[in-house]
């Protein structure tokens, strides 16, 4: 990123190749819409290009990228308040070497978990995604969300608690 900041903007291609998938998944968890998520990724990298001088040398690019990503998402969410995130079809469970019956059960559980996650309030879903899927440290999440590390700890726990309640409630509905 230092090279990009110094004007060698072609190097942004490397950063795109390295990180666009993680960014895409972050947006997909927030919007549940592939096309919108792809559009948001484009916007993030364009904004990085345009505001490359605001990157602080010596800091990690990865959390900074999510900081930019969050701003892009908030801008969009502000303009599309009426849009409700609806989970898209087509996410399937990762293939494993499990026996077929166990695979079917696992697929069902994954579908319920995904429904539970999609039904969470956006701000709670976001902290789970950041801590579980994006491999961000609590300090980095705190800098992205502009809050204290202690607050992140509490938010992640409460979000996990709620996700767990929603998931087991769905399992109960399924069983009855």
């Amino acid at each position: 990123m230092l090279d990009v900041r110094a004007g060698d903007v072609g190097k942004l291609e490397l950063l795109f190749d390295r990180h666009h998938r993680a960014l895409f998944r972050y947006f997909l968890h927030l919007t549940s819409n592939r096309a919108v998520s792809e559009d948001l990724v484009q916007e993030v990298f364009f904004r990085i290009l345009k505001y490359r001088h605001t990157y602080q040398p010596g800091t990690r690019f990865y959390p900074w990228m999510f900081q930019v990503g969050r701003n892009v998402y908030m801008d969009r969410a502000g303009r599309h308040k009426a849009e409700v995130a609806m989970p898209e079809r087509g996410w399937d469970v990762r293939s494993t070497d499990m026996p077929p019956d166990r695979q079917a059960q696992s697929r069902q559980e994954a579908a319920l978990l995904r429904r539970a996650l999609a039904a969470m309030p956006a701000e709670k879903r976001e902290v789970i995604v950041m801590s579980r899927f994006l491999d961000l440290k609590y300090e980095e999440i705190a800098s992205i969300l502009k809050c204290e590390v202690g607050a992140v700890k509490v938010r992640v726990y409460r979000a996990m608690r709620e996700l767990s309640d929603r998931f087991f409630a769905l399992c109960g509905e399924q069983a009855s």
Partner: protein, 269 residues
């Protein structure tokens, strides 16, 4: 340590990020507290379950679109916008300072000689002028059609393409002003603000830019507009900036930035 504090550490423990001392305290507590053990088991099931969620791949075309935008941006930077400043031409230009004035003088004399004895005065060639007009018309057409595309990436290319127009063009400036006020993509709006700098000698454009500050819903675009107005040192924009600095509905950073802009303009008076 009470149960609530312990439970707040469970996700961090599941992620493998809890420090040794904190983990030992957690384990010691779990040995004596069945309720927290049950909590750990439940959250662990959900945490592990998330590992089986799929990791969808983005469409490979996304990369192609990004590279197009990057190329268009690079082309825009190098097409004479004055963004590359200062580096002397390399290769034929002597590295040693002592030879530089000598070469400069030689080039000056050569220029005077060629101008006086070689170049013949002549009127503008009508064919060349017509051709230049056609190229300019084509650029205008491409810019306007790209600015009306559905995809934000294409509209960005349209804005970038507008840089290549040698002469200000009313239709293009109107399309760029429309993009600043109405485009759904913040990036397109930001780029259009930058592109309009070229047209800002016209007082109507400066007034439209000042008016656009108030109607923007994006703080980033508002800040970019304020920066441009400061750069243009447009005194007529001061009332609009004052209103923005006092607008309680506006973003706090934008208000601060507008106040800073007013001060800056007053200092430069």
């Amino acid at each position: 340590m009470n149960c609530e504090r312990i439970r707040e550490q469970i996700p961090e423990c599941l992620a493998g990020r809890l420090g040794d001392a904190a983990r030992e305290r957690l384990v010691a507590h779990l040995e004596t507290c069945p309720a927290c053990r049950a909590e750990l088991a439940e959250l662990n099931a959900v945490w592990r379950g998330m590992a089986s969620l799929p990791e969808p791949e983005p469409d490979p075309a996304m990369r192609t679109r990004f590279l197009e935008v990057l190329e268009a941006y690079q082309a825009g930077r190098t097409s004479g916008l004055g963004m590359q400043v200062g580096n002397p031409p390399r290769g034929w230009w002597p590295a040693r300072p002592v030879w530089q004035p000598v070469l400069a003088l030689a080039l000056l004399l050569l220029g005077v000689f060629l101008g006086r004895y070689v170049a013949q005065p002549r009127g503008a060639d009508p064919d060349i002028a017509r051709l230049q007009g056609q190229v300019e018309g084509l650029r205008q057409l491409v810019t306007l059609s790209l600015l009306q595309e559905q995809s934000p990436s294409s509209r960005l290319r349209g804005v970038t393409y507008s840089y290549q127009m040698a002469q200000p063009d009313t239709q293009v400036e109107q399309a760029l002003l429309y993009a600043v006020d109405h485009d759904s993509s913040v990036n397109v709006r930001l780029s259009a603000v930058d592109a309009l700098e070229k047209y800002a000698a016209d007082a109507r454009i400066r007034r439209a830019l000042a008016d656009a500050v108030a109607v923007q819903d994006s703080p980033l675009v508002q800040i970019a507009l304020v920066d441009l107005l400061v750069q243009l040192n447009d005194k007529e924009a001061a009332p609009a900036l004052r209103r923005l600095a006092q607008d309680a509905q506006a973003d706090a950073q934008v208000r601060q930035h507008a106040a800073w802009a007013i001060q800056r303009m007053e200092v430069s008076q």
